[in-house]
């Protein structure tokens, strides 16, 4: 298969419809356990499972000297590893790599502040809150809010509600 970067839009893949810039956000640990999966386009459950496995296979073989970007079907994955967790965002090939790489970090900093030194277990036990954090910062496959102060203020306000 030809995967010329200059012509990404025609490389073969099975992800069809175009609905969002971010196609999905995944948080996985090294063993491949999913800690968060947020989908911005319609996939059926089998397809989701396949994507999760593929992303894990693609990302975990890379080391620190590699880039934080990897071509994936006809998209690309921007990812960053934090301790044992991989934070992955799948976007269009033409999207801005560094902007999404830092969007991941911005998100991680918010989680860290919100959960006070976030660790993997926080994401497990508070999975339903992680979704709220995601929705504050990303919506409809787009970056919604980037100010950590604003996001945390909103999260604390929600936290205080019953």
């Amino acid at each position: 298969m030809v995967t010329g970067r200059a012509t990404p839009e025609t490389s073969r893949g099975r992800v069809h419809a175009q609905t969002a810039k971010i196609r999905f956000i995944l948080i996985q640990n090294r063993a491949g356990k999913t800690r968060l999966a947020k989908w911005y386009m319609q996939f059926d459950d089998d397809e989701k499972q396949k994507l999760i496995e593929e992303v894990h296979a693609v990302v975990t073989v890379r080391d620190a000297k590699h880039t934080n970007f990897v071509e994936f079907r006809n998209f690309k994955i921007i990812y960053r590893r934090y301790a044992g967790l991989y934070f992955c965002i799948c976007v269009d090939v033409s999207d801005n790599n560094l902007a999404y790489l830092e969007a991941i970090h911005n998100f991680v900093e918010v989680l860290n502040e919100y959960f006070h030194n976030v660790c993997e277990l926080d994401l497990v036990f508070n999975f339903y809150k992680v979704y709220t954090v995601v929705d504050e910062m990303f919506l409809a496959g787009e970056i919604r809010e980037t100010s950590q102060t604003k996001v945390l203020k909103q999260l604390l306000m929600l936290q205080s509600l019953e």
Partner: protein, 978 residues
């Protein structure tokens, strides 16, 4: 700052999660889950009404179980109930459950509309956001139908909170992308643009995404966003690192918003207003200047955020492609990154430079980095970085550095990763052809490719070298000598045997004078490889042998011996057996003259629309060049199809030995991509046994088909093309068809070839052929101007359900179309089941910097898959009666739009695809036809009757088919033709 403790609020949930984590085995986990499911079920079914808290807790547990990968078949109603709670935490869990599970249960959506409506109207910003997020997360058409009209109101309402506006903007974006027809444009659109001025940067961040999406479809309606975006951008980039407070990220002011604004501007050409443009250029320069300043922080976050803006700025500069100064500055900046210690930056610099290389202003500047790039190709650890380096070398290649680049790529190929070998092979092959100054270099290069990476040399590549050698008599002797030497290697690749076999069969006589390569030596060299080769190669070699008999009569006895051997004459493979039998007979019965005629040297391959070959020829002399150019211009201005037909002489000269050489019969290698098979099937229908009738000239039909065949990759760019079905842009990305699209489509209902579209810039010609449920279509795009089209991108889009009804494989075409030039695109079509609407053809390109786009209906209608059926009157009436259900019949009475001429009508009906049955209708004035629509899934029998009434100038058309929708559709299509 208060933090969240583990599972606070829901103890039972935390306990359950702990239990699951403590399970030692999958079985234990399933057991624990089943226990919990039973517990929850009993609670939900119990007599006691559950309080909100318990309901929330249990729904949350169910959600957790679902996320572990187990099916959940109850609890939906409880989740829906949670939506009407007036407690945030309960509502949130309800909405979350629905957003996560909605894929598996779309029934849910109908149940929740009411709750969402209430929340949207609640004036409670928290609840409104929950509802908006739910709509955005689900994003289904049903949601669009229910809420698309409300959301613009919320978005622009003066009293909406900022956070609500943010969510509303993106929610609307989602609905618009899912179902653009449901989002009405209106006076709100102007107010949306003004959100770019909003005080709240978060609102601007969300709004820019929405505007970027909307303006792609309605660029004119949103034009005012340019100046607003420019002034916003200018304010951000010129602000000090701490001015924007909350929106400063590691000393970089609003990096994400800047990137989004820069992307929005890439939807438009450079601003027309001089003041706006000046301000923008100033901002771009500021970004470039800041890149040179010392970093304000050592953290990678700082440099990433800063460089995110820088790369987007460079993208915009490249997009405008009009500011030489900025382009060169961008190139220099990227040049610095090429040696940066961050792999990410090296990668991105290579990638970005690749696009800079195609700009005339920066091409030379890019070339100065050749040594660094070659070094990257050799030393980078990450294969994806090496790949970008290869891409860039390819992009920066021109005549001045082709030899260096090709030799570096060849060297790299020896150690290249398997993943990118094929790509490198294609690139080398294209560059070698494109920039060949002498053809011996080209031949050497391709043979080297086969030697180094034979497995990755696709058939297009070796077909091409054969074409070129066949067409260039000055290189034939050299090619024969070189392949002969290459075949001496003890282990040579099968592709080398193929190329060698073909070339020696054609031009072995040119080296036969040397005793070291005398005919018997040539033959035994080839034959020593024979037994190790695949059937396809052996078939080709048999053809070489029969050609040897003609070239070198002294080898006749030996070769006849080989052909006569039981292993050939009784070969289990029918192709080999047939060739052996026929060649043996041919060599025994035919006179020398006949042999010489039949086995004559291959005629030159017609060089239609091979832009690269045209370029090569142009170097040969001004005379040839102008003749060629004239021919091309004439063609594109008069008849676009005429240009690509081979001249009559080339059609009639091809000796039938074209088939003998097995190119046509050679089955595609197993590794060939599956989509090609549709095309091959089509060819198979027509290709007789290769040696079946060697003495007959091709019939006109065969001549047409021979053009369709794979061995001659017409456009070298096709080498890089891969079938691109998945990358079709969704229907939301293309505009509506041009107003005359239907009329244009109608012209093609009864014919397959002609000019589909023409305006001042572009002419699109069509040539197509259909057999059974398969079709192949050639589209010819002619640039009528003298200016190059850039980013030329024709794509085929399947609206609605069409994807499941019709498969269209397209090959990509070159992204540049020179002035006066024509490019060709091949479409392989397979009809999967009956369909009503044709696919759309979207053509986008840039002409003089301005984006052009055009959407047409592709002339593929269901009747193209008609197979005519002859039948006697009796059969016809019997079947007519069988199809007598009211829905099976469609009838139309209509006025004649054209003169009523029986011959024309006949031709149209035949063109429509059905057989015309004589002596069936008692009234000889009437026309009766029959045929079968062939689709992959089903066949639809069709009978038709057309009754002209010359006096009234009217027709009555009746269609009967076994499928209601087909009857109606055929009737409508055909009725418009008379």
């Amino acid at each position: 700052m208060p933090a969240v403790s583990k599972g606070d609020g829901m103890r039972g949930l935390a306990v359950f999660i702990s239990d699951i984590r403590n399970c030692k085995s999958k079985e234990a986990e399933i057991k624990r889950i089943n226990k919990e499911l039973a517990n929850i079920r009993s609670k939900f079914k119990g007599d006691k009404a559950l309080d909100g808290y318990s309901k929330k807790k249990y729904v949350c547990k169910l959600l957790f179980i679902f996320l572990l990968g187990h099916d959940i078949d109850f609890g939906h109603m409880e989740a829906v109930n949670l939506l009407s709670s007036n407690k945030y935490t309960e509502k949130q869990i309800g909405y979350l459950f629905i957003s996560v599970l909605v894929n598996s249960n779309s029934e849910l959506i109908r149940l929740i509309n009411n709750a969402i409506k209430n929340d949207l109207a609640s004036r409670n910003p928290t609840f409104m956001c929950l509802a908006l997020h739910c709509i955005a997360n689900v994003g289904s058409r049903e949601m669009g139908e229910a809420f698309a009209a409300d959301i613009p109101r919320i978005l622009v309402a003066g009293d909406s909170m900022d956070s609500v506006k943010q969510s509303a903007a993106l929610c609307l974006l989602r609905l618009y992308k899912a179902s653009p027809d449901l989002v009405p444009m209106g006076e709100w659109t102007a107010r949306v643009v003004h959100l770019l001025n909003d005080q709240h940067m978060g609102v601007v961040t969300a709004a820019v995404s929405l505007i970027t999406c909307l303006c792609k479809k309605n660029p004119d309606d949103f034009k005012t966003c340019i100046s607003l975006a420019v002034s916003r951008l200018s304010r951000i980039v010129s602000s000090a690192s701490t001015d924007l407070q909350d929106y400063t990220y590691y000393f970089v002011p609003a990096p994400w918003l800047s990137v989004k604004l820069l992307r929005l501007l890439q939807c438009y050409p450079p601003p027309e207003d001089a003041a706006v443009k000046g301000r923008l250029v100033e901002s771009l320069e500021t970004v470039l200047n800041k890149a040179q300043e010392p970093p304000k922080s050592k953290k990678v976050q700082h440099s990433n955020a800063k460089n995110a803006i820088l790369f987007e700025t460079i993208s915009l500069i490249i997009h405008y492609d009009s500011e030489p100064n900025l382009l060169v500055r961008a190139c220099n900046q990227l040049g610095q990154f090429l040696q940066h210690r961050e792999t990410n930056l090296r990668y991105l610099a290579l990638e970005s430079m690749c696009t800079l290389a195609s700009s005339e202003f920066s091409h030379e500047a890019v070339k100065t980095h050749i040594d660094t790039v070659i070094n990257a190709l050799k030393t980078e650890r990450d294969v994806s970085v090496r790949q970008r380096a290869a891409d860039l070398l390819y992009a920066m290649c021109d005549r001045s550095n082709a030899k260096q680049i090709v030799s570096e790529m060849l060297r790299y190929l020896e150690t290249a990763d398997y993943a990118i070998r094929e790509e490198i092979v294609l690139k080398v092959a294209i560059l070698a052809e494109k920039y060949a100054v002498d053809y011996s270099w080209y031949v050497d290069t391709i043979l080297n490719l086969i030697r180094i990476a034979g497995d990755y040399v696709s058939e297009e590549v070796w077909y091409r070298v054969l074409q070129i050698v066949t067409n260039r008599d000055d290189v034939q002797g050299y090619a024969a000598k070189t392949v002969f030497e290459a075949l001496q290697a003890p282990a040579c690749h099968e592709n080398m045997v193929k190329v060698g076999g073909y070339i020696l069969g054609e031009f072995g006589n040119l080296i036969a004078g040397d005793p070291r390569s005398s005919p018997p030596v040539q033959f035994s060299l080839l034959h020593s490889k024979f037994h190790l080769c695949s059937v396809a190669t052996r078939a080709l070699l048999l053809s070489t042998y029969i050609k040897f008999i003609n070239l070198f009569p002294e080898t006749k006895a030996t070769i006849q011996g080989v052909l006569r051997a039981g292993s050939q004459l009784r070969n289990a493979d029918v192709e080999l057996q047939q060739r052996a039998v026929e060649y043996l007979t041919l060599s025994s019965v035919a006179s020398t003259d006949v042999l010489a005629t039949v086995l004559e040297e291959m005629p030159p391959f017609p060089e239609r629309e091979s832009s690269i070959l045209a370029k090569l020829k142009r170097k040969k002399g001004p005379g040839a060049a102008s003749a060629l150019d004239d021919g091309r211009r004439d063609a594109s201005s008069s008849d676009i199809n005429g240009a690509v037909e081979p001249t009559p002489s080339t059609v009639s000269t091809p000796s039938p030995s074209a088939d003998l050489l097995g190119l046509r019969a050679a089955p595609p290698p197993a590794a060939a991509p599956a989509p090609a098979s549709a095309g091959n099937l089509l060819v198979d229908v027509f290709s007789d046994g290769p040696a079946a009738q060697p003495s007959l000239g091709p019939t006109p039909e065969e001549a047409f088909l021979s053009e369709l065949e794979p061995p001659a990759p017409e456009s070298p760019m096709a080498l890089l093309a891969d079938p691109a079905p998945a990358a079709d842009p969704g229907p939301e990305d293309i505009g509506p068809p041009v107003p005359e699209a239907d009329e244009l489509l109608n012209k093609f209902v009864c014919k397959n070839n002609g000019v589909l579209f023409e305006n001042q810039l572009l002419q699109i010609g069509v040539k197509s052929e259909f057999r059974q449920n398969l079709g192949r279509m050639y589209l010819f795009y002619g640039n009528k101007t003298s200016v190059q089209f850039q980013n030329f991108l024709p794509t085929v889009v399947h609206p609605g359900d069409l994807q499941t009804q019709l498969a269209v494989q397209t090959k990509r075409v070159a992204a540049q179309v020179d002035g006066g030039a024509q490019v060709q695109q091949v479409l392989n079509i397979e009809c999967l089941r009956d369909f009503l609407t044709p696919p759309l053809l979207s053509v986008r390109f840039r002409y003089g910097g301005a984006p052009q786009s055009l959407t047409l209906k592709l002339p593929v209608t269901i009747n193209k898959f008609f197979q005519p059926t002859e039948m006697a009157a009796q059969d016809f009436f019997q079947r007519w009666k069988q199809l007598s259900l009211p829905l099976q019949e469609a009838q139309k009475i209509f006025k004649a739009n054209h003169p009523m001429d029986a011959e024309v009508t006949k031709a149209k009906l035949l063109g429509f695809g059905s057989a015309l049955l004589d002596n069936v209708d008692p009234n000889p004035e009437n026309f009766v036809g029959a045929g079968i629509i062939q689709t992959k899934a089903l066949q639809v029998g069709c009978l038709l009757r057309l009754e002209p009434n010359a006096q009234a100038q009217m027709y009555r058309l009746t269609l009967r088919t076994s499928k209601e929708s087909v009857s109606r559709h055929l009737c409508e299509l055909l009725a418009q033709q008379f």
